[in-house]
Each structure stands twice: as structure tokens, then as C-alpha cells.
């Protein structure tokens, strides 16, 4: 539940308080929060110290949150489900909603598959436990198929690319920026996107211990505000953001710009409301049915809604860079 601290959290960043002595340990991924905040100028005049830690992907970041080595960090929509399923000490405190156009099931150039239903009996590469994993299950379900109707090849993205580009697998469930990369470089074709199938959410996950600390909780509130403003900046300056991002990650600029326009630039900060929780609960139940999570559990137990104030509902449509950009 909310607390009095939540009141100032939505306020501006110039609150004095005892924040000067606070150090916020933020977990990050390469080209993630730190990059966007810096590019948007949101790392100037921060009334507390931020200590960045970089992780290769969501799961190890949440491991660190669970170990109290990190206070807060941003991840996709499935890692919190698994972390919660394992009863890790993590709490979802913020969310953003983006376009699901980047989450696709792709087929290589020259493939004769045209619909998800055609996948029956074919092989699909997917990273286990990723958002694409859920998307695959959901997409198949929508086409009236079960996971067992296809040959699932569990491959990490780098390995999957090798397999996909050599035609060792018939299709690949993948997300951005990988989507933009293969679409641009290998002439792959999209079979289906995640639109209407996945929730397009990503989360800020904090350690309960940090939330219990009054000062830290205040800092987290401020930090979430900065992230929201940075996202707005990115939407307004896609080229600039793509340039920074590509430099940071080594992605080609064209690919980065594609990815920004297709997904990462479309994000809008939203409340972790009941709709969001329900959509995550659906993911949790799906994986529990697949026995990838040992037990059914209530996702709401791992959510703290104190920072929701003033944020739009989670089903607020993502921004688009269509004709009506700006």
C-alpha cells in the first residue's frame, strides 16, 4: 500500500530532505536507463548519488535485486514473473507501455510459411523464459496450436541468429533490437507481431528493503520521474536517441533508428494498475501451466503501487512515429 512518502514522490526533483546522503544502486543493461537519462539531461542536479551496475540481461539483474545488491532496475515483462514465482525479494514499482510491433515471430528469407498456423510441425527458435517465449505460446494459442505442436529450439539470441541465418530453424520468436537487425540485414519476414498478444509492458523492479527505507523510497520516486521525462525526450528526439544508443551498444545506426521507431521510442510511463497486474498474472498462469513455474501464485503480492500517482492507465496506447509524430 501507499505511504506518506508517496506524496512527495511525484513532486519535482528539487526537494531537499536528507537525500544528499542517499546512494541509489541502480541495475542497468547496456544502452538502458543510464544512457537515456544522460542523453535527456536527467542526470544533472540529482539530489542523491546514483551507483550504476550493468547486467547482461533481466534475470541476473533481478538476482542482484534479490540479493539486495541493487535497489532498483528496469526489466522486461517476463523476468519479474519468474522472479516472483521463485519468491524472490522483488517488488514491481513502475511500468511503461510500448508498442509490441518489435516482438515478432520471423521466418528467414524465402520461407514459404505465411501464418502462425503454418508453424505446426516446424521448428521455432526462442530464448527460454523470455517475453518471446510467452508470445510464442500466446500466438500459437490464438492460431489454435499448442506449444507441443511445434518443435521448440531453446536458443539464446546470439545462438539463435546463427541458427536462423543458416536456416537451421524455420522461424524465430524474437524482440527488438534483434527484430530490426534481422529485418534489415537478412531479409527476414515477419510472420506475426505481438500486437494484441503480449502486453507490451516493461517494469521497474525494486528491492523491498530499499522501499522500506524512507529516504531511498523517496529517491526511487524521484528516479522514476526522471525516467518518465527521459522517455518523453526520446520520443521527441528519435534520431538523437538512436545515435546515442547505437554508439553505446555498437548497433548500426540504421538498425537502432528502426528499433527506436518500432518499439523503444514508443514507450510511455504508465501506472502499475490492476490491468497491468492482471496481464502479468496471465503470463504467470501460462508458465505455471507449462510447469516452468513450480506453483500458481498471485502476482499482485509483488507489486507496490505507491508510485502510481499521476500516471496514466497501463492500457494507454503506446506512442507511434507514424504520420502524427510529435
Amino acid at each position: 500500500g501507499g505511504s506518506s512518502a508517496a506524496d512527495d514522490s511525484s513532486g519535482s526533483s528539487n526537494t531537499s530532505g536528507g537525500l544528499g546522503s542517499v546512494t541509489l544502486n541502480v541495475g542497468d543493461q547496456k544502452g538502458g536507463s543510464e544512457t537515456i537519462l544522460r542523453a535527456a539531461g536527467e542526470l544533472e542536479k540529482v539530489p542523491y548519488k546514483i551507483k550504476w551496475s550493468t547486467f547482461t540481461s533481466g534475470p541476473p539483474l533481478l538476482e542482484a535485486v534479490n540479493a539486495r545488491a541493487v535497489d532498483i532496475g528496469g526489466v522486461g515483462n517476463t523476468p519479474p514473473v519468474f522472479a516472483a514465482g521463485a519468491h524472490s525479494k522483488v517488488t514491481v514499482v513502475g511500468a511503461s507501455h510500448g508498442s509490441s510491433a518489435g516482438e515478432v515471430i520471423a521466418v528467414p528469407k524465402g520461407s514459404d510459411l505465411t501464418s502462425v498456423a503454418d508453424l505446426k510441425g516446424k521448428s521455432v527458435a526462442v530464448a527460454q523464459g523470455s517475453s518471446a517465449h510467452f508470445q510464442l505460446v500466446a500466438s500459437l494459442a490464438k492460431a489454435g496450436l499448442k506449444l507441443t505442436d511445434v518443435k521448440v529450439s531453446y536458443l539464446q539470441p546470439a545462438d539463435a541468429l546463427a541458427a536462423f541465418s543458416r536456416g537451421r530453424v524455420d522461424s524465430w520468436a524474437i524482440w527488438d533490437p534483434y527484430t530490426s537487425q534481422i529485418l534489415r540485414n537478412t531479409g527476414a519476414r515477419v510472420l506475426t507481431t505481438g500486437d494484441g498478444v503480449v502486453n507490451g509492458l516493461s517494469f521497474q523492479v525494486a528491492a523491498p528493503a530499499a522501499l522500506a527505507d524512507k529516504n531511498k523510497s523517496q529517491a526511487i520516486g524521484d528516479y522514476l520521474g526522471r525516467l518518465r521525462r527521459a522517455q518523453d525526450w526520446a520520443f521527441k528526439h528519435p534520431e538523437e536517441w538512436a545515435k546515442v544508443w547505437s554508439k553505446e551498444t555498437g548497433l548500426p545506426y540504421a538498425v537502432a533508428l528502426d528499433a527506436v521507431k518500432r518499439s523503444s521510442g514508443t514507450r510511455v510511463a504508465v501506472a502499475v494498475d490492476d490491468a497491468a497486474i492482471a496481464s502479468e498474472q496471465k503470463i504467470a498462469d501460462t508458465f505455471a501451466d507449462l510447469r516452468l513455474i513450480p506453483n500458481h501464485f498471485t502476482f499482485k503480492d509483488f507489486v507496490d503501487q505507491r508510485f502510481n500517482t499521476g500516471l496514466p492507465a497501463s492500457n494507454t496506447p503506446a506512442r507511434t512515429f507514424g504520420k502524427a509524430s510529435s
Binding site: A86, Q128, G129, S153, L155, D159, A162, R168, V169, I293
Partner: protein, 286 residues
């Protein structure tokens, strides 16, 4: 072997002015501990286990730092009951066995080539020394491109790990063979192959055993990576999956299984050593 009489007392010698101070040579039989070997060898691991349990039950080791042996045992029992672990082990065992065979053959062959001839050394050794440092993980995409996503890349990865280990130790073993024995073999009219078979290989055997010991471990380690490639069974897969899904208890069960495998490998190699190196009267500690 028992002592027929106790070691005599030095005081039997009457104390004269210029008597040499003598010391008794104490028979080993009187000092021998009578705890059987296997029991003493299990003491270490058991002690570790006991420590773990004690720390857990006294609350020094909190469950979220490391679950107690009891919890792990329950998780393990579950994994066994639902068939996950047995079937994973079976699949992995096959992969490891195949990988070991190829790896041992390749490693030994390479070691022979570069151990036996200068030319071989110049060509092979530098290349192997260069390649063995290359991390497997980086090679996985290449392996997929070359060998697909079936069993081949998995077994290739395991073989690679095994081969390098064995290579290094067998090569060092060959280079450590006493030159005097090589000379003796030559002078006895052994052919080049006879020399290899009767002198060089037996001489390199202790080194090879060390290599084998680590190779067995490496094979299981490589499995963790090889079962990242399109696997849906196997102990490495179970562990990778547990990592993705934050199942710390399953991870620890896997680690325990690995530890158990390590012990088994150790027993296998020890038995082999007892059989093959019985000619070696070496230092065995005091």
C-alpha cells in the same frame, strides 16, 4: 602386522658419562590408525555437509543465502520423483560419454604428434596453446553454423573441452619421460611405435591420469554450455533453466549432482590409477 614387543626404553642403558644418545626406530605398526580408508575419505565431504546443516539450523546461514541441506534434499527428491533428474542424467550421460571418447582420442593424438616429434610440436603445440584459451561460449554460434543445432555441436563442445585438457597433461607427461629410459628403449631395438607404446605412453600415464581427472569434470562443465543449444533435456539444461527461472533450490540440487559426479569421476580415476600405476612407488604423504 603387530609388534612382538614394545620398543625398548632408552633408560635400559645405564647412564654413563660418554654414552651416545640413542633413539628408537618406532615401528609403523604401533602408530597405525585403524580407520578404514574409504571412511576417512568420506569424512571431508560429510564434515562439509554437517557444517552446512548446522549453520542452516542455527540460522547463521539464512535460507535465502543458501537453503539448508534438508530443503535441497526435498527439492532433489521431487526432481527425482517427477523423473526430471533421472531422464536429464541419462541424456547428459550419453552426451558426455560420446564427447569424452572423441575428446580423449583427439587430445591424446594431438599430444602424441607434438610430444613425439619436434616438427609436430612446432606445428601443433603453438596452435593448440593458442586455441585452448578461446572461450567456448564465443564459439557456440560458430559451432551452430558449422554443425547445426542437433547433437553434433553439443558433443563437439564437450570433446573440445576434454581434448584440450588431455592434450596439455599428456603432452607434459610425454615431455617428462626420463630420457634415460627412452635411450634404453632405443638401444633395445624398439621401433618408433614400440618406443611410444612401451616407453613414452606408460611414462606419460601419470600425467594422462591427471588430465583425465580434469577432463571428466570438464566434460560435465561443457555440458552446461552445450545444453544451451537447443536442448530440452539434460542436467545442463535443467540448470540453465533453473537460472532463467530463479529456481535457486534447483540450481543447488544441480550443483550437488555435479559434486556427486565429481566424486564418482574421482573414484573412477583412482581405481584406474590403482590398476595402471601400481608400479609407481611414490610419495604418499605422512
Amino acid at each position: 602386522m603387530t609388534i612382538s614387543k614394545p620398543p625398548p626404553d632408552i633408560s635400559v642403558i645405564p647412564d654413563q658419562g660418554d654414552v651416545l644418545e640413542l633413539e628408537p626406530i618406532i615401528s609403523a605398526a604401533s602408530r597405525r590408525r585403524h580407520v578404514p580408508r574409504w571412511l576417512r575419505r568420506t569424512a571431508g565431504p560429510l564434515l562439509l555437509l554437517a557444517l552446512w546443516q548446522v549453520l542452516s539450523s542455527t540460522g547463521v546461514l539464512e535460507p535465502d543465502i543458501l537453503a539448508s541441506p534438508g530443503t535441497i534434499a526435498r527439492a532433489g527428491k521431487e526432481l527425482i520423483a517427477d523423473g526430471t533428474l533421472p531422464s536429464a542424467m541419462l541424456v547428459s550421460l550419453q552426451r558426455v560419454a560420446l564427447g569424452l571418447v572423441f575428446g580423449v582420442l583427439a587430445g591424446t593424438a594431438l599430444a602424441l604428434v607434438s610430444g613425439l616429434s619436434r616438427l609436430g610440436e612446432d606445428l601443433v603445440d603453438a596452435s593448440v596453446q593458442m586455441l585452448r584459451t578461446v572461450p567456448w561460449v564465443g564459439l557456440i554460434p560458430l559451432f551452430i553454423i558449422w554443425l547445426g543445432i542437433g547433437e553434433a555441436p553439443k558433443i563437439a563442445l564437450i570433446s573440445l573441452g576434454v581434448a584440450f585438457h588431455l592434450y596439455l597433461n599428456v603432452y607434459a607427461g610425454i615431455r617428462g619421460v626420463d630420457e634415460q629410459l627412452i635411450e634404453a628403449g632405443t638401444s633395445l631395438g624398439l621401433s618408433r611405435w614400440g618406443l611410444v607404446r612401451h616407453v613414452v605412453l606408460p611414462g606419460a600415464l601419470p600425467g594422462a591420469m591427471t588430465g583425465l581427472r580434469y577432463s571428466l569434470a570438464t566434460a560435465w562443465l561443457a555440458l552446461v554450455f552445450s545444453e544451451q543449444i537447443n536442448a530440452d533435456d539434460g542436467i545442463g539444461f535443467v540448470m540453465n533453466q533453473a537460472r532463467e527461472f530463479f529456481r535457486t533450490d534447483v540450481i543447488v540440487v544441480c550443483l550437488v549432482v555435479y559434486a556427486f559426479l565429481g566424486l564418482t569421476a574421482d573414484i573412477v580415476v583412482r581405481t584406474l590409477e590403482r590398476l595402471l600405476l601400481q608400479w609407481r612407488p611414490t610419495f604418499t604423504g605422512k
